[in-house]
C-alpha cells in the first residue's frame, strides 16, 4: 500500500530524531563491543594456559601456582570475567603478562606504525579502485573494462601473503631496489603498502563498477539524458551521487579495518605494528594484550559503521526521512 501525500518534515523534529537515532546506535555499538570482548575472553581462556607458555613447561609447580595466583588465574572463570569486565569499565585494560606493562600502552605504541601502512594503503585503494571501477562501468565491455576487471580478479584472488612474498622476491631479492622487511625508513613501507593497497583496490574497483552499472541502468539516467544534459554531466550529477551510496559501505569497512587490517602483511614484512603485536600476544596467551587489541579493533569497526550509517542518511534522502518522518 503506497502512502501517497508525504510532506517533508520539520527540521526540529528531524534533529530530535537524529539524536535519538545516534543514541540508539551508540548503545548498540557498545553492546557489540561488549560481545566481542566476552567472546575473546571465553575463547582465550579455553584455548591454553598462559602460565605454561609464559613460565615454560618445566618451571616448578609452585612458581606456576604463584604466577596463576598473581594474575588471578586460579579463580573461577566467571569471577575472572566479572573482574575483567569491571576493570574495563574503569578504563583499566590490564597488564601484559610478559613484561607487566599496561596493555593499552603497549598497543598504543604500535598504532602509529600500523597507520603508517594502512592509511597510505587506504589512499591507494580509494585512488585506484574507485576511478578504475567507474571507468570500467562507463566503458562497459571495452578493452579497458576487461583489463580493469582482469586486474581486479587477479588482485583479490591472490592472497596478500603470496603477493607480499612475490613483491619481496622481485623488488628486494632479484632487483634489490627495496628492503624486504623492517621499519627503518619510508622505503621499507613501500612494499607492504602496495601489498595492502592492491587487494583493496581490486575489491573496490569491482564493487564500484557494479554499483555504477546498476545506477546507469536506472530510468532517471535516461531522464537526465532526455533533458539534454551531456553524458559527462549525466554521469557526474546523476549517476555518481547514486552510485556512491552502496560504495560507502565497503569504504566504511576499509576504514574500520585501518587498525586490524594489516596482520598478515605486518608479519610478512616484519613490520612492528599492532598486527604483529597481536600475533605475538596470541602465541604467548598474553591475555590482556590480545583483549586490548580486539577491543580496539571492535571499537574502530563499530565507529566506522556508525559513520557509514550517518553518511547514508546524508547521501540518501529516502533514508533520512525514513528516520525522521513518522509515517509522513
Amino acid at each position: 500500500m503506497p502512502p501517497t501525500d508525504r510532506t517533508p518534515v520539520s527540521t526540529g523534529k528531524g534533529r530530535r530524531d537524529m539524536i535519538r537515532f545516534i543514541a540508539i546506535r551508540l548503545l548498540r555499538s557498545l553492546l557489540t563491543i561488549a560481545l566481542v570482548v566476552t567472546f575473546a575472553f571465553v575463547v582465550l581462556r579455553l584455548s591454553g594456559d598462559p602460565a605454561m607458555l609464559i613460565m615454560s613447561v618445566d618451571a616448578p609447580p609452585e612458581a606456576i601456582a604463584a604466577f596463576r595466583r598473581s594474575w588471578g588465574l586460579d579463580e573461577p572463570l566467571w569471577t575472572q570475567y566479572l573482574k575483567y569486565f569491571g576493570a574495563i569499565l574503569h578504563g583499566d585494560l590490564g597488564r601484559s603478562m610478559r613484561d607487566g606493562r599496561d596493555a593499552i600502552v603497549l598497543v598504543a605504541e604500535r598504532i602509529p606504525a600500523t597507520l603508517a601502512l594502512t592509511i597510505p594503503a587506504l589512499l591507494i585503494k580509494l585512488g585506484i579502485g574507485i576511478p578504475a571501477g567507474v571507468h570500467a562501468a562507463l566503458h562497459r565491455d571495452s578493452w579497458s573494462d576487461r583489463l580493469v576487471m582482469l586486474a581486479a580478479v587477479a588482485g583479490f584472488t591472490v592472497p596478500s601473503f603470496v603477493l607480499g612474498l612475490l613483491l619481496v622476491l622481485i623488488f628486494a631479492v632479484q632487483l634489490g631496489w627495496l628492503p624486504s622487511g623492517g621499519q627503518e625508513s619510508w622505503r621499507h613501507a613501500i612494499l607492504p603498502v602496495i601489498t595492502l593497497g592492491v587487494g583493496g583496490a581490486a575489491v573496490l574497483a569491482r564493487f564500484t563498477r557494479s554499483a555504477t552499472l546498476e545506477v546507469l541502468g536506472q530510468l532517471y539516467i535516461r531522464t537526465a539524458s532526455a533533458k539534454g544534459l551531456s553524458w559527462g554531466r549525466v554521469v557526474r550529477s546523476h549517476a555518481l551521487p547514486n552510485a556512491a551510496i552502496p560504495t560507502v559501505t565497503i569504504v566504511g569497512f576499509m576504514v574500520g579495518s585501518l587498525i586490524a587490517g594489516a596482520v598478515v602483511v605486518e608479519s610478512v614484512f616484519s613490520w612492528p605494528g599492532v598486527g604483529r603485536l597481536l600475533v605475538v600476544a596470541v602465541a604467548n596467551r598474553d591475555l590482556a594484550v590480545v583483549q586490548c587489541i580486539l577491543l580496539l579493533v571492535a571499537a574502530t569497526m563499530v565507529t566506522a559503521n556508525l559513520i557509514v550509517d550517518l553518511l547514508y542518511g546524508f547521501l540518501d534522502p529516502r533514508l533520512r526521512s525514513a528516520r525522521s518522518a513518522g509515517a509522513g
Binding site: 510532506t7 544534459l229 551521487p241 509522513g328
Partner: protein, 329 residues
C-alpha cells in the same frame, strides 16, 4: 504511396521520421517507420508491449543504449538532424522533451526536485540561481502542484506518483519544447490521477501550442487526447488516420481487433472478441504481414510480402492487402 502527414501542404512537419529502423545486436526491433508530427498537433501512438512505439522516439532522440543500431533519417523543421552527440543534446529537452511511464523512478532519488528542474532551465534558457528557482516555482504552479515553493526542496519519494508526474511535466516544460513526447505517462497511475494528468497535458497544449506525441497501449487514453492516431504492430505502423476517422472505422484487422478486445461500457455483456495468440518475438517474425498468423481475415497472399502503408482516404491509411487491395478480385 505511404502518407505521413495529415495535410502536408499546410507547412513542413515539426519532425519527420523516415524509414527509421532499430536493431539490438542484430535483432530487428523497428522495421522502417515513416511518421511526421505537425506543429501543435497531438499524435497518439498505440500498440502492445514490444511493438516499438517507445523505441521509435528513443531512437529519434538518440536515447537508446549504445548496442542499438539506428538507421533512417530524422528531419526537424525539414532539415536533417545529424546523429551527432552535440546536435541531439541540443534538441533533447529543448525542441523535444520527453516524459516517461514511471515518474517515481524517472526522477533522481537523491536530488531535490527544484534542482532537477533548474538543471533544465540552466541548460536551455541560461537561468541560474534565484531566477531559475523562481521559474521552477512558476512551472510547478503551472502544472498544478500544490504548495509549489515547498515542493522545490522536496525529494521524489516525498511526493505521490501523480505529483511526481507533474514534476516530470514541469521539467519537460522547462526547455519550452515544441514537442512533448509522453511515453505511457499515466500507465503507472491510478484512474482518477490518470484523468488529471491527461487533462493537464491537454490544457498545457492549449496554453503553449506545443505538439504532443502520446504513446500508450490504451486506446481509451489515446482517444481522449489525440487528433491523429498511428497503430503499431511488430515494429511497423499498420494504420494511420485522423482520430475521428479511426474511431469511426478502424480498418487494419489488428486495429479492429484491439477495439473489439476492449470491454464495452454499455450494452449486454458478451464474451469479448479476443485476438488469438500472442505478439511474435522479434527474432521469429513471420514472413509478409506480421499480423497474418493471428488475423481472422488472413489469406495465403498475406505471407508473401510486407504490405505497405497505403492510403484509403484523405486522412486514413492502412498496411493490409485485404483492406487496401482493389475490389476486382
Amino acid at each position: 504511396m505511404p502518407i505521413t502527414g495529415v495535410d502536408k501542404t499546410a507547412s513542413t512537419p515539426l519532425i519527420a521520421l523516415s524509414n527509421l529502423g532499430v536493431s539490438f545486436d542484430g535483432v530487428v526491433a523497428l522495421r522502417g517507420i515513416d511518421l511526421a508530427v505537425m506543429p501543435g498537433e497531438s499524435l497518439g501512438l498505440v500498440g502492445e508491449s514490444g511493438c516499438g512505439k517507445s523505441i521509435t522516439w528513443l531512437a529519434a532522440l538518440g536515447l537508446l543504449p549504445a548496442r542499438a543500431t539506428v538507421t533512417g533519417s530524422v528531419r526537424l523543421d525539414g532539415e536533417e538532424l545529424p546523429r551527432t552527440k552535440a546536435a541531439l543534446e541540443r534538441v533533447r529537452g529543448g525542441r523535444i522533451a520527453m516524459i516517461f511511464q514511471d515518474p517515481a523512478s524517472a526522477l533522481n532519488p537523491v536530488l531535490r526536485l527544484g534542482r532537477q528542474v533548474s538543471e533544465a532551465l540552466t541548460l536551455h534558457r541560461g537561468m541560474t540561481g534565484s531566477a531559475a528557482r523562481a521559474e521552477a516555482k512558476r512551472l510547478f504552479d503551472q502544472v498544478g502542484l500544490p504548495d509549489a515553493a515547498r515542493r522545490l526542496d522536496a525529494y521524489p519519494h516525498e511526493l505521490s506518483g501523480g505529483q511526481n508526474q507533474r514534476v516530470m511535466i514541469a521539467m519537460a516544460l522547462a526547455g519550452q519544447p515544441d514537442l512533448l513526447i509522453a511515453d505511457e505517462p499515466t500507465t503507472a497511475l491510478d484512474v482518477t490521477i490518470q484523468a488529471q494528468i491527461l487533462e493537464l497535458l491537454q490544457s498545457l497544449r492549449r496554453e503553449t501550442g506545443m505538439a504532443l506525441v502520446l504513446i500508450s497501449h490504451d486506446l481509451g487514453v489515446i482517444a481522449e487526447t489525440c487528433d491523429r492516431i498511428a497503430v503499431m504492430y511488430a515494429g511497423r505502423i499498420v494504420e494511420e488516420a485522423s482520430a475521428d476517422a479511426f474511431f469511426a472505422e478502424p480498418r487494419h484487422p489488428y486495429a479492429v481487433g484491439l477495439m473489439a478486445a476492449l470491454p464495452p461500457l454499455t450494452g449486454p455483456r458478451r464474451p469479448l472478441t479476443a485476438i488469438p495468440g500472442g505478439v511474435p518475438e522479434p527474432w521469429a517474425m513471420p514472413p509478409g504481414c506480421a499480423f497474418a498468423p493471428r488475423c481472422p481475415r488472413a489469406t495465403p497472399d498475406c505471407g508473401i510480402a510486407v504490405p505497405p502503408l497505403t492510403a484509403l482516404a484523405k486522412d486514413h491509411a492502412a498496411a493490409c492487402i485485404r483492406v487496401t487491395a482493389p475490389v476486382w478480385a
